[in-house]
């Protein structure tokens, strides 16, 4: 029976009971409990089922390393799977449920897997399900996914109600870990005056020291911790933060910190998690160490815990893990657990020590307290299924075929030594060395992660550095070194009883037979046993990285925090090589999983992505705009009238523009000012045609290609004066083309005298289109816009109806058209004025779909429809816009390559279906026969296709092999399924070929 002790508990507040439920059962804990502690206080030993065999599992650790005690927390929108009970602080109203079992935690049918473990050995999935091939996807995988796995994913309808945020911060020295080493390092660094930040992942300062009985300057560690904290809190150059985990160390001192603000207090109106994006000059990892389990048969039975964890539960939370415990160890440290248990009034059946003798200070103290110590012994096997009932012992060097004695107990504390937490040191390339005394990997101070200056930027101290005894002197030195301060001797001294060396025990007993080895768990979460790693070695897996993936050792959500060293020690032994020769797997961020919410930060809801709005956006919204995304802009696709269908609205808008007067919000068009003495020369390089000869006051259409000759943008250039041009780009192309210009100016033609300024958003631009366009503008008055004064492809500046206007006589519709730019702040008023003045003329706005149809009727190409990154201007019959006089322009050479001048290229033509129907988007023109991939052979494709309200039939443009040479020919397009559609190749200009209508 695990239960709460009547007294004690460093971290709990007995006056504040907290109610919670586990699998619907009501339980009570105390403020300060972790969920794991609270569950143990309620004798809830069994917490979940393992991944593969569905073995019963309970709490094994007391911190971030916990592999077993994962639960589902919360419900509905707040539901989260795979939450570690050992790092979940209890709060009133918490709801938790166990996972990975069916139908119930106590009675799991899938645990039948456990009765035949020889069927699920290393590589089982690979070996068993490889044939027949097609079965994997449809049969095996769905079944395996149901039986293997941890928590369920949240419902696809769930919407996380919490808020999350990120924050950027900067410091000189970042100390990660708030144990006594981290506190000292922070203090020593801060005393030199540099800016110091200290993070602790739990809610408490001081780490293990108070539990382990460390004394500082002769007093309990807690005294020194409190004093040091007060000092740090008063220093203006120091910031300290609990519940903030150093998640990852990246290049250039960039560190991610994961702060859990309201996980322990969900009632607070605050962001749940905050992701710190810290840029630190130097980083000190004071991340402590993690105790290693021992590999004995049944080491996964609920009630078997790390010795340090059991000590934590006794001292910090006043939890008795059982009435009678057994401690199994290969070192002196675990005796602390026996001593703590005895002092708390818990029975200690024995300390089972694998070493031949145990005569250090701690074993001696244990004996003095009357605790039985059995040396040279190990665990043969644990008795019990869903909880520990006893333990059979054997001689440590035996095969374990027979037991020497049996001890009754209901909890077992195990300790195989400690492994420094080297994760953060290793994330950015810090190397490790094998410590022959402590039998662990620790940071190699000569090979730290290197910064841009070639010097190490990560230091380490305390247990994270492999200092398992006194740590303050090392921490002080690390703090001063990180701060670049002069070295002074440390003042406080921490002291611990002397400890005898541990004796490595990677398998218990050392010569265990197969039956025992296949019950020795290495990776608790992924169900990897000693026998699996040994099998992998026999099958030829020598690399630790390959073995990891073959056996899944260390691949679970705990990333092998407990299993890593034990696993590679077993592998090394199987391979007959020393552990350093095997090496470790790679340590990758994050240290423990961080929430997706923290990664998304503020990017959700209204701030998910910028939505760009033109100055006239609100009018569109108020007038039933049916929106479509254009880059990050929203543009009206059409404006729906009451009861109107989309197509009808579009056709109405097209007809109105052809017959009357219509408005288009063209504000999104890119507008880039290019100015300077070399502006003309620059544009001659950017465009395929000549721009330098353009006269001020005139406009010219131009094409821009990339270096390979492929068409990338088009638009009208207006010459403003001798030195400056206004370049219009496509709506989606403005930023890209501006960057393209700057790339050439800054990297290639840096000595050319050219400036570019992106003026896209300075202007609201309105296209006034249709035969009555001039009539409308004349009503506004102020500018002479007659054909004589402002001919086609010219522009003029003036006051139009009182607005500061620049009027361009350009047309993308084929109608009489004026594009009028006014300052953006006047845009809405200008639009309102046009709508009001045009009301009695029947003015209508039109959207992007009408824009597309109007241009398609005229055979005007659209970047992104007729082009896709593989199309050169010649494919589109735009040879007229390619200068033959210029020596060079971007794309000139590309266009001359063999494939580009092949006469069989697909070229632009118009397409008319024989029955007048509208061709499907992107339809392919098919010819009889199959290609090498057994697909239908093709000779062209549709690039734009619409119903033309003007012509009363479907029209399309497409790229067809030798298209322009085949005018009048009928070709066949593939529709849905076997449907075939006949179309005739025609001129792409369907409407007003001579251009009379735009030139009035």
């Amino acid at each position: 029976m695990s239960h709460r002790l009547p007294n004690g508990g460093r971290l709990i507040q007995r006056g504040k009971p907290q109610k919670f439920t586990f699998n619907g059962k009501h339980m009570t804990g105390f403020a300060g409990d972790t969920l794991a502690a609270a569950l143990l206080a309620n004798d809830q030993m069994l917490l979940g089922r393992s991944f593969k065999y569905h073995r019963p599992r309970g709490v094994v650790a007391s911190g971030a390393e916990e592999p077993n005690a994962l639960v589902e927390l919360g419900k509905g929108d707040s539901f989260e799977p795979n939450q570690r009970t050992t790092t979940t602080e209890l709060f009133d109203g918490l709801t938790a449920a166990s996972q990975n079992h069916w139908p119930s935690l106590d009675f799991d049918l899938l645990s039948i897997n456990s009765m035949v473990p020889q069927f699920l050995t290393a590589g089982f999935y690979y070996k068993t399900f490889i044939q027949p091939r097609a079965f994997w996807k449809h049969v095996y995988e769905p079944i395996i996914r149901r039986s293997a796995g941890l928590g369920k994913a949240p419902s696809d309808k769930a919407r996380d109600p919490d808020r999350y945020e990120q924050i950027y911060a900067f410091c000189d020295v970042l100390v990660i870990g708030g144990g006594i080493a981290g506190l000292q390092a922070a203090l020593s660094a801060a005393q030199s005056g540099v800016k110091v930040v200290l993070w602790e992942q739990t809610a408490h300062w001081g780490g293990r020291a108070p539990v382990d009985g460390v004394e500082i300057d002769g007093k309990p560690a807690d005294d020194w911790i409190n004093t040091t904290l007060q000092t740090l809190e008063k220093m203006p150059n120091v910031q300290i933060r609990t519940r903030c985990m150093g998640a990852g160390v990246h290049d250039h001192g960039y560190v991610l910190g994961y702060e859990r603000i309201t996980d322990h207090a969900p009632e607070l109106d605050a962001p749940r998690h905050r992701l710190w994006r810290m840029r630190a000059g130097k980083i000190i990892t004071a991340t402590g160490a993690i105790e290693r389990p021992l590999s004995f048969a049944g080491n996964d039975v609920p009630g078997v815990m790390l010795a340090s964890a059991m000590r934590d539960y006794i001292v910090n939370y006043a939890i008795a893990p059982g009435a009678q415990i057994v401690v199994v160890t290969n070192n002196d440290d675990a005796y602390r657990t026996a001593i703590a248990a005895r002092k708390a009034g818990i029975g200690v059946a024995a300390v089972v020590d694998a070493r031949a003798e145990a005569t250090g200070a701690l074993p001696t103290q244990a004996r003095v307290l009357g605790i039985k110590v059995l040396t040279g012994k190990g665990v043969r096997k644990v008795k019990g299924g869903k909880r520990v009932k006893g333990v059979e012992l054997c001689r440590i060097d035996s095969t374990g075929s027979a037991h020497t004695e049996v001890l009754e107990c209901d909890a077992i504390a195990m300790s195989g030594g400690w492994s420094p937490v080297v994760h953060l040191w290793s994330h950015c390339g810090g190397k490790l060395i094998w410590d022959e005394n402590g039998h662990f990997f620790r940071p190699d101070p000569n090979r730290p992660p290197l910064g841009a200056d070639g010097a190490g930027f990560v230091l380490t101290c305390g247990a994270a550095n492999g200092d398992l005894g006194a740590v303050l002197a090392g921490a002080h030195a690390a703090g001063q070194s990180a701060a670049g301060a002069e070295t002074t001797p440390a003042t406080p001294t921490d002291s611990l009883p002397e400890e005898a060396p541990l004796e490595p025990v990677w398998i218990m007993p050392r010569a265990a037979d197969y039956d025992l080895r296949m019950k020795m768990w290495l990776d608790f979460q992924n169900d990897v046993k000693v026998s699996d790693v040994q099998l992998a070695a026999r099958e030829g897996y020598h690399s630790v990285e390959h073995t990891k993936r073959y056996t899944t050792l260390g691949m679970a959500t705990d990333q092998g925090k407990l299993s890593n060293i034990n696993g590679l020690a077993v592998l090394s032994d199987a391979l007959g090589q020393p552990i350093p020769a095997t090496g470790t797997t790679t340590f990758r961020p994050p240290y423990t999983p961080i929430s997706l919410g923290a990664i998304a930060g503020e990017a959700r809801g209204a701030t998910f992505q910028p939505l760009r709005k033109s100055p006239i956006h609100d009018w569109h919204e108020a007038n039933r705009a049916d929106w479509e995304p254009v880059g990050q802009w929203r543009r009206p696709y059409t404006y729906l009238r009451a009861g109107e269908k989309r197509d009808d609205a579009v056709n109405r808008e097209v007809t109105n523009a052809r017959e009357n007067v219509a408005l288009l919000d063209a504000s999104t068009l890119g507008k880039i000012l290019v100015s300077g003495p070399d502006a003309g020369r620059f544009l001659d390089m950017l465009y395929t045609n000549m721009m330098s000869t353009l006269k001020p006051g005139k406009c010219r259409y131009g094409l821009m290609c990339n270096e390979n000759g492929f068409l990338m943008d088009d638009g009208v250039v207006a010459r403003i004066d001798e030195q400056s041009f206004l370049v219009h780009t496509t709506s989606g192309g403005a930023d890209r083309i501006h960057a393209w210009m700057e790339d050439w100016l800054q990297c290639e033609w840096w000595d050319w005298k050219v400036h570019t300024v992106n003026l896209t958003e300075q202007f609201a631009q309105v296209a006034v289109v249709g035969p009555k366009a001039r009539q409308l503008l004349e009503r506004l008055g102020g500018m002479d816009l007659s054909r004589e004064t402002l001919p086609f492809m010219e522009w003029a500046e003036g006051k139009l109806g009182g607005f500061d206007a620049r009027v361009f006589r350009i047309s993308f519709s084929g109608e009489l058209s004026f594009e009028i730019a006014v300052p953006a702040s006047q845009g809405r008023a200008f639009w309102d004025k046009l709508m009001a003045e045009g009301a009695e003329m029947g003015i209508m706005p039109y959207g992007t779909e009408a824009l597309h149809i109007l241009r398609a009727e005229k055979g005007f190409i659209m970047i992104g429809d007729e082009t896709d990154g593989t199309v050169i201007p010649q494919d589109l019959g735009l040879n007229w816009a390619i200068s033959k006089k210029k020596n060079d322009f971007l794309g000139k050479r590309g266009m001359e390559r063999e494939a580009m001048v092949n006469p069989a290229r697909w070229k632009l033509v118009g397409l008319e279906t024989l029955d007048g129907s509208v061709l499907p988007h992107g339809a392919l023109a098919v010819v009889p026969g199959l290609n090498a991939n057994k697909q239908a052979r093709t000779e062209g494709r549709v690039t734009s296709t619409y119903y033309s309200a003007t012509l009363g039939r479907g029209i399309a443009m497409g790229l067809v092999e030798r298209g322009p040479e085949r005018m009048g020919e009928e070709i066949t397009f593939a529709g849905k399924g076997d449907k075939r559609i006949k179309a005739r190749i025609v001129d792409p200009v369907f409407y007003d070929k001579e251009g009379a209508k735009q030139n009035v």
């Binding site: 605050a270 939505l611 300024v757 958003e761």
Partner: protein
């Protein structure tokens, strides 16, 4: 025409641990060229000297902010910008210099209160501890370009493109929302 001119989000305001407010119309002129060459015209027209790197100079209602080694941004009353633009163009005729009014390409927000740095630190990868009144920093906020002008001990101005004014306002409001005080600078 100023009676017809409106800013991007007139009157938008959010009270959190810092106050976010749209600043209304602001005259702005981009001036590019060799800063030494520009100095006289700049001083004659605005009264301001050429700012040092990442600094703002001020004279009466006008200010000039450093933007890059060959660009400054003139800030002036919105109504005054067109005249100032043509004065500069005249003064710099014949030089390799570019003058462009950009008043309406932008939206401006003030973030005020002792904790303005704590709000902006959530959006901009900038060490705001190094910025003081009279500094400018070009950066990004969330997913869009931004310039932060520190205009007082407890006030900063954030300039962004006009089209993303709503996004910027929403971002700043989220960052300054009560309960989310990070206690980083304040």
């Amino acid at each position: 025409m100023s009676d017809l001119a409106i800013s991007a989000l007139p009157g938008a305001r959010f009270e959190g641990f810092a106050t976010v407010a749209e600043a209304g119309l602001q005259g702005m002129i981009t001036l590019r060229g060799d800063l030494g060459t520009l100095a006289k015209a700049l001083s004659d027209v605005t009264g301001c000297s050429v700012p040092e790197t990442r600094k703002i100079t001020q004279a009466g209602a006008n200010a000039v902010a450093w933007m890059s080694p060959d660009e400054v941004l003139i800030l002036c009353p919105h109504d005054a910008a067109p005249a100032m633009e043509s004065s500069l163009r005249n003064a710099l005729a014949g030089e390799f210099a570019t003058v462009a009014a950009v008043s309406d390409a932008r939206a401006v927000f003030t973030v005020t209160g002792p904790a303005w740095r704590d709000a902006l630190a959530k959006l901009c990868p900038v060490d705001f501890g190094t910025l003081e009144a009279g500094d400018i920093r070009r950066t990004r906020a969330g997913q869009v370009a931004a310039a932060v002008l520190v205009t007082g001990a407890e006030e900063a101005r954030v300039i962004c493109f006009r089209s993303v004014a709503q996004y910027m306002f929403d971002l700043l409001s989220v960052a300054a929302s009560k309960g989310s005080e990070p206690a980083l600078y304040a």
